[in-house]
């Protein structure tokens, strides 16, 4: 079986799994509450994957992904509501706007050592919120923006379509990132995390790849926001506070920095945990930082570190099933853990 065929089988498996999930949601076998939580989890995972690219794989701490999410969400909403752009180009526009912000922030800060990015992105996340509050014409101000057109107005299909959109995008992001990270560009990015000076000495344009990874990371963050706007139909500047940025960071850290599988698992797990722990009210707020500190001190490689930091690989499983020896270099891998 050739690599191409394996890829086709992978694609089919992912497609079937996605369709199966959609059917389950549409038939209400997965009830509306669960599907809603899963949709939120999917959006969280998408943004956390973006954050993992810059913080986990490139090794540059970014603390403002709620800000990129906000840019993506508000741009999408503004394009749809003010300029009557159809929803899909509007979402792309939202993500591109977030990428532009990321590029502009990265330009002065990424030339320097990593610490500055953390503080500048933190400031960006706070300031973007203040800006949103002070632009009432565009954003509805502190009261929030109501009446954003959802994917469909049909009451029955709305949760199904939101779910489908989010998980389709998630699958795309996962496939794109896992392929990117196996390419030479990905190796360059990872080499920056391992040793910036050595990477530079090996002829890797460190600044270029940092900007590249950060812009892409902001794009994915914006994409998450762009999905969020039509899913919720309501946006308020305070949804995108620093707390939110840290939630994404916790997902990345708990799953394991530099591990896509971990981010997906931790993202879904933590979103669920948040629902389960609702009865604790404010005490939840203390649990997160404690998780963060304990993981960092005792298990810095996160949950997936316990499994040798391996990635879930559909190709490997398929190859194993049909008895082909794993040929890692050639397999067009898909970590399709959707």
């Amino acid at each position: 079986m050739s690599t191409k065929k394996t890829a086709v089988v992978c694609f089919l498996v992912v497609a079937v799994v996605l369709l199966l999930l959609y059917t389950l949601v549409a038939l209400r076998i997965i009830d509306e509450y669960t599907s809603q939580v899963l949709t939120v989890a999917g959006i969280n995972v998408i943004i956390a994957l973006g954050l993992n690219l810059i913080s986990g794989f490139t090794g540059q701490l970014a603390l403002g992904h709620a800000g990129f999410m906000a840019v993506g969400a508000y741009t999408t909403a503004a394009l749809v509501m003010k300029l009557n752009v159809p929803i899909f180009p509007a979402m792309l526009g939202g993500a591109l706007m977030a990428a532009l912000f990321g590029f502009l922030i990265g330009l002065p800060t990424l030339r320097l050592r990593g610490d500055y990015l953390a503080i500048v992105t933190l400031g960006f996340g706070e300031i973007i919120r203040v800006v949103m509050i002070n632009l009432p014409k565009l954003t509805g101000g502190p009261a929030g923006l109501k009446g954003i057109p959802t994917f469909t107005t049909n009451f029955f299909w709305r949760p199904v379509l939101s779910f489908a959109m989010v998980y389709f995008t998630l699958a795309l992001v996962v496939v794109f990132l896992s392929n990117l990270l196996k390419s030479s560009h990905g190796k360059a990015i990872i080499s920056i995390r391992e040793d910036e000076i050595a990477a530079n000495a090996m002829g890797i344009n460190v600044f270029y790849y940092k900007i590249f990874a950060f812009t892409l990371s902001a794009f994915i963050g914006g994409l998450g926001g762009a999905l969020y706007a039509p899913f919720f139909g309501y946006l308020s500047p305070n949804m995108f506070n620093f707390q939110k940025s840290v939630e994404f960071l916790i997902i990345v850290v708990l799953g394991g920095m530099g591990n896509l599988t971990g981010t997906v698992l931790a993202g879904i797990g933590l979103t669920y945990l948040q629902e389960i722990l609702r009865f604790l009210k404010d005490y939840r707020l203390v649990i997160y930082p404690v998780i963060l500190i304990i993981v960092m001190i005792f298990q810095p490689s996160g949950v997936m570190g316990l499994f040798g930091n391996r990635e879930f690989s559909l190709t490997a499983i398929i190859n194993k099933l049909i008895g082909k020896s794993p040929n890692r270099e050639k397999s067009a891998d898909k970590a399709g853990e959707v």
Binding site: T109, D115, Y116, E126, V286, Y288, P289, I293
Partner: protein, 299 residues
């Protein structure tokens, strides 16, 4: 003349705000100079310091004497907090990639903020910090309040004290040695762990003092009050050149003045953004800061 008068007034206000930033920035810069860590929780120490003083003052009542006395328990409490924070959270990570310690610092910061929020004695709602009656002294149309005088006084005394400790004592010499070269300092028989703890102790007690001054100037305290001053103090430290002690003071003053001038002449909503604008500007023009030495990367 009116413009000049207002300009002088705003500059004076800025200097007093800047002194608070400077006290906080000193902690950032010292810790960064020694362990290369942005201690995100530093701003929250300011909050803790303000709350300790708040509890002390609500017990004793507010008089100039009790206000001065409340510095003592507050600084001691934060000193202990700072040192235990370092021992428990940062020390185990000293030999790991720097991003791990940064993330832990975020966690500690969140723990302090949200911890304060869930403690029933503090709670999420803002409280009014006890203040002395406002007394203004005017001179040529520029007025200075008693709180501002207090801020200048405390800040100058603490900075002189810090200057003495860093430049004229044995532990200060050890601090300078460790920040210069940790490995070599260790080989020379300096107890590096003790020096790092001492640095955290110094920084945290300065932050506690800054907290009381901040709360006296803006008498509303709540668990998240430390975030913005913390970030601005960090920017002040970068502006002055991170790792440089005179730089932190200079950066704090510049930032304070820039902020009040923006508030006075442009718009009050821009005042937070101006700090970050300054940060971007300094990172583009002179990343090593005004008084910092340009650092080549060592392998």
């Amino acid at each position: 003349m009116d413009f000049l008068q207002q300009f002088c007034q705003q500059t004076l206000n800025g200097m007093s705000l800047g002194s608070i930033y400077a006290l906080l920035a000193l902690g950032y810069t010292m810790v960064y100079g020694i362990v290369q860590l942005i201690n995100f929780a530093h701003g929250d120490i300011l909050m803790v310091g303000a709350f300790v003083s708040y509890f002390v003052l609500s017990k004793w009542g507010i008089t100039p004497v009790t206000l001065m006395l409340s510095f003592l328990p507050s600084m001691l409490f934060c000193l202990t907090l700072g040192v235990s924070m370092e021992k428990v959270c940062y020390k185990p990570l000293r030999n790991q990639p720097r991003i791990n310690a940064l993330i832990t610092a975020i966690g500690v910061s969140f723990l302090l903020e949200n911890g304060a929020r869930v403690i029933p004695a503090i709670g999420p709602n803002p409280r009014v910090f006890p203040t002395l009656p406002v007394v203004n002294y005017a001179w040529l149309g520029v007025s200075i309040s008693r709180v501002q005088l207090l801020i200048f006084m405390v800040a100058i005394v603490l900075m002189l004290l810090l200057n003495y400790i860093v430049n004229f004592t044995k532990i200060g010499k050890a601090m300078r040695a460790v920040s210069y070269d940790k490995g070599a300092a260790y080989l020379m028989g300096i107890n590096v762990d003790r020096v790092i703890s001492f640095t955290f102790a110094l920084g945290s007690s300065l932050a506690a003092a800054a907290g009381i001054l901040f709360a006296s100037a803006y008498p509303q305290i709540e668990p998240y009050m430390g975030i913005m001053p913390g970030m601005k103090a960090f920017i002040a430290a970068v502006l002055g050149g991170i790792g440089s002690i005179p730089g932190a003071v200079l950066g704090g003053l510049i930032l304070g003045v820039a902020e009040t001038l923006t508030k006075g002449f442009l718009s009050s909503q821009l005042s937070d953004a101006i700090a970050f604008g300054l940060l971007i500007l300094i990172l583009v023009v002179k990343p090593s800061g005004l008084l910092g030495k340009p650092m080549g990367e060592k392998v």
